[in-house]
C-alpha cells in the first residue's frame, strides 16, 4: 500500500492526539466506527463562549489513512464555529490527503466523527446553535 506523503506525515506526527477531561466545560465528543470494521474514531471539540472551537483532540484505531484523516480534521475544525465545522465534507479530506479510492471510507468516517461531535455539542449545550443550523 503506497501512502501519500501527507498521510505518512500525519501518521508519524499526528496532531492533537489525546482526550479532554470528562468534566471540562464546552467539550463534546463524537465516536464513530466499530472495532470489527477495523476503524474507530473518537473526536472531541472544546467550544468557547462565542461558539468557536478553540481546541480539538482525537484518538483513532485504524489504518494510516484513518489516523491521518482524523488528525487532519482536528486541525481544520480549530478556529471554526460549530456550524462551520459541520460543513467539512469528506471529499475535502480525501483530496487534501490524496486518499486512494479504497481509503475513501476513512474520510467519510472523519466527516461522521465531526457530525457526531457537533450533535453531541448541540445535545449537551442546547438550542444556542440550533436555530442557525436550521437556517
Amino acid at each position: 500500500m503506497a501512502y501519500s506523503e501527507k498521510v505518512i506525515d500525519h501518521y508519524e506526527n499526528p496532531r492533537n492526539v489525546g482526550s479532554f477531561g470528562k468534566d471540562e466545560s464546552g467539550v463534546a465528543t463524537g465516536m464513530v466506527g466499530a472495532p470489527a470494521c477495523g476503524d474507530v474514531m473518537k473526536l472531541q471539540i472544546k467550544v468557547n463562549k462565542d461558539g468557536i472551537i478553540e481546541d480539538a483532540k482525537f484518538k483513532t484505531y485504524g489504518c494510516g489513512s484513518a489516523i491521518a484523516s482524523s488528525s487532519l480534521v482536528t486541525e481544520w475544525v480549530k478556529g471554526k464555529t460549530v456550524d462551520q465545522a459541520a460543513t467539512i465534507r469528506n471529499t475535502q479530506i480525501a483530496e487534501e490527503l490524496a486518499l486512494p479510492p479504497v481509503k475513501i471510507h476513512c474520510s467519510i468516517l472523519a466527516e461522521d466523527a465531526i457530525k457526531a461531535a457537533v450533535a453531541d455539542y448541540r445535545k449537551k449545550y442546547g438550542a444556542e446553535t440550533e436555530p442557525k443550523a436550521a437556517e
Binding site: 500500500m1 466506527g33 466499530a34 470489527a36 470494521c37 489504518c63 479504497v102
Partner: protein
Amino acid sequence: MNARKHPIYLDYSATTPVDPRVAEKMIPWLTENFGNPASRSHAYGWEAEEAVENARAEVAKLVNCDPKEIVWTSGATESDNLAIKGAAYFYKTKGKHLVTMKTEHKAVLDTMRELERQGFEVTYLDPKPDGLIDLEAFKAALRPDTIVVSIMHVNNEIGVIQPIAGLGEICRAKGIIFHVDAAQSTGKAPIDLATLKVDLMSFSAHKTYGPKGIGALYIRRKPRVRLEAQMHGGGHEKGFRSGTLPTHQIVGMGEAFRIARVEMDAERERIRMLRDRLLAGFKDMEEIYVNGDLEHRVPHNLNVSFNYVEGESLIMGMKELAVSSGSACTSASLEPSYVLRALGRNDELAHSSIRFTLGRFTTQEDIDFAVKLIKERIGKLREMSPLWEMYKDGIDLNTVQWAAH
C-alpha cells in the same frame, strides 16, 4: 530509531536467502557443466546426471529415506498438487473422501477445493485453540471410503508441529494414503522417514537456504504408493514428473539440505535462544497474545497479537522490520488470517498479529533492535487508540454499542 537502508529480515518462513556456500556450488552448473542430465551420449550429460544423483542422495539423507523415493519438482506447491491429485486419481476406485485441516497451506487447500469440484468429498478439520490437530476429531472424520489424508508437519504461520507419527499410524492401519507438507520443517524439525508412517512428503528448497523454483516429493516404495502423473512429457523421474531437470537448482537444493543436516542441531539451539529473547522482550507488555502452542513448535517462529492496535497501522509502524502480518492487505479489504481465525481468534486479534520468523543470519542485535522498536511503536499506537483508552478505563468493549458502518 536509526535509519537503515534495508529493514531487518525476520520473515524466514516466507523465504530464506540462498546460503553463499550453496550459491557457490550452483554456479558451475549454469556456465561450464551445463549438460542435460538426460543426455546419455556424452560427458556433459553424464556429469550432470551424477550431480543430480548426488543431490538426490543429500535430500534423502536429511529425511532418512532411499534416494529412489525422491522425485524433483518445481517446489512444494507442485509437490502438494502431485501428491494429493495424483493419489486421489489413482485410488479413486477405492473411495472419494479426503481429510485435511483448515490451517493447511493454500497449496493443499486449493488443491482440495479443485478435487471437490471434480466430485471428491473433503473434510476440513478445525484445529484446537493451540493450533494442533484434535486426534479424536481426526479419527472420527475417517470413513471407509477415505483414500487420502493431508496434514502439514509445521504450520507456516504459527510454527506448530503436528503429531505426524501418530497420524501416520492411524492412517497406515486403515490403508489410507498419508501426505505431509514438510515445506516449513526441513532443517527445523527432525524427520525420519524410516520410522514415520508417511507415504508422501513435500519439500521446498527456498525455505531451507536453497534456491527458489526447486522442490521434491517423497514417494514411499515399501509399501509402494502409486500416483497418477500430473505433468507428461519425456518420462523423466520414472514418469512421475516429466521435464528437463534444472541441474543447478537441484545441486543447490542438495547442498542446502546437506548443510541443514550437518548444522541443524546447533542452529536450532542458537535460534531458539534468540526467539526466547524476543518473547522475553515483550514480557512486560499488556494485552499481547502468543498464537499457537509454544511447546510443540519450531524454534524460529513467534506469532503474537497486539490487542487494541489495528493491523495495517501496525505494519506501517514496523517498516524497519521485514515481518509478516495476520492481515493480508489486499487492494479492497483487509482479510484477517484464515489460520488465526481457525484457532478461534476474533478478527481484531487476527488483524493485529505479527509473525516473526528468525533464521541463520539473525543476530542478537537484530532481536534487541526489534524489541525496542516494537515496544515504542505499539506504545505510540496504543496512546492513539480509543479502544486502548476504554480498556484502561475498565470498559468492556463487548458491551459497547458501536455505530457500525
